[in-house]
């Protein structure tokens, strides 16, 4: 019995990690840039995933996942660092509460295509596609190894449904968080995942595997805090100089 449920449990636990990464990106981007474009992007990513999964089946493992990780990770890192730069300047000037009425409002710098905020669409699309592919790889790998592909598929699917439901239930509470904090947090998360995936795609061995994501996040939090403190002194110096 335990052997029978083994591939379900393994696929479920491994997929939960990937699903958390996926839902974190979607909820974070949706909270800042607006939900419509983010959800359309997430749904499009999921649709591509279903088509690729149905088309390739167990041949999914032949896809060059390292190249996908490198490309998607690099793009997320570039976006993440740009958001982090804006967040550091904003928090240094206005504090974490900030003003919600200006340049980093939802849609800022966002190219509009087909009535959608393209930034939100692409970030959600890529997050869902990459993480969804990783869940599919987990399911196919564990499922074929144990010859229990359906049990593994149910495990991976359950993990995704559980984490997505939790994300949907708690996303409303994000509306009460100041926008400056959200921009900072999403910048930190995109930079963390982007760094991890891009380096992983190049063949870097992260000490501790997936756990190094937490260390990376802690490193970026410390770095962002230091940059905000330095920038606050710089801004204070400019203001004092201008009023003198």
């Amino acid at each position: 019995m335990l052997g029978g449920s083994g591939s379900f449990v393994t696929a479920f636990v491994a997929s939960v990690v990937e699903a958390i990464e996926m839902v974190t990106i979607v909820v974070g981007v949706g909270s800042i840039r607006g939900w419509r474009s983010t959800l359309v992007g997430a749904a499009s990513g999921f649709a591509v995933l279903v088509v690729v999964g149905a088309g390739l089946g167990t041949a999914l493992t032949a896809l060059p996942i390292d190249v996908l990780r490198l490309v998607i990770g690099s793009l997320l890192l570039v976006f993440g660092l740009q958001w982090l730069r804006k967040a550091v300047r904003r928090v240094a000037r206005k504090g974490l509460a900030g003003d919600d009425d200006e340049e980093l409002e939802s849609g800022e710098g966002g190219e509009q295509r087909l009535g959608l905020d393209w930034t939100a669409f692409v970030l959600a699309f890529k997050g869902v596609l990459l993480e969804g592919l990783e869940i599919a790889f987990i399911v196919v790998s564990f499922g074929t190894a144990a010859n229990q592909i359906w049990l593994a598929a149910i495990g991976g699917g359950s993990a995704l449904v559980l984490v997505a439901t939790l994300g949907a239930v708690f996303h409303g509470s994000l509306g009460r968080i100041p926008r400056s904090v959200l921009i900072l947090v999403v910048g930190l998360l995109l930079s963390t995942f982007g760094t991890f995936w891009a380096a992983d795609g190049l063949g870097v061995n992260w000490p501790g595997g997936d756990l190094s994501l937490l260390v990376l996040l802690g490193f970026y939090v410390l770095a962002a805090t230091s940059l905000v403190l330095v920038e606050r002194r710089v801004v204070g110096g400019h203001t004092a100089g201008a009023t003198a």
Partner: protein, 91 residues
């Protein structure tokens, strides 16, 4: 033929604006950091996990300073502001 050319230029410009944004140094820096990381991993087989996080933080710090400098250059100096307010008819 010309329409295709215009479309390709617009397509390229869109992706440039979309990915590179208002500070090209971040995208260029990430590419450079990835290239060096690749060299370390596949050339010398040395641990290279530290390079991208350190490089990224450096890029943000440089980006913040560049944005500050641009803002300072665009803003009028205190002397210019006091001269403008002295010359304005309402003052």
């Amino acid at each position: 033929m010309r329409r295709i050319g215009d479309w390709l230029v617009a397509f390229g410009r869109f992706w440039w604006d979309f990915v590179v944004g208002d500070d090209w140094t971040i995208a260029a820096g990430v590419i450079a950091a990835l290239a060096v990381t690749y060299g370390l991993v596949h050339g010398d087989a040395r641990p290279a996990w530290w390079l991208l996080p350190l490089g990224s933080v450096t890029l943000v710090a440089v980006g913040v300073r560049r944005a500050d400098r641009r803002e300072q250059e665009a803003a009028p100096s205190a002397e210019e502001r006091s001269r403008d307010s002295a010359e304005s008819p309402g003052s």
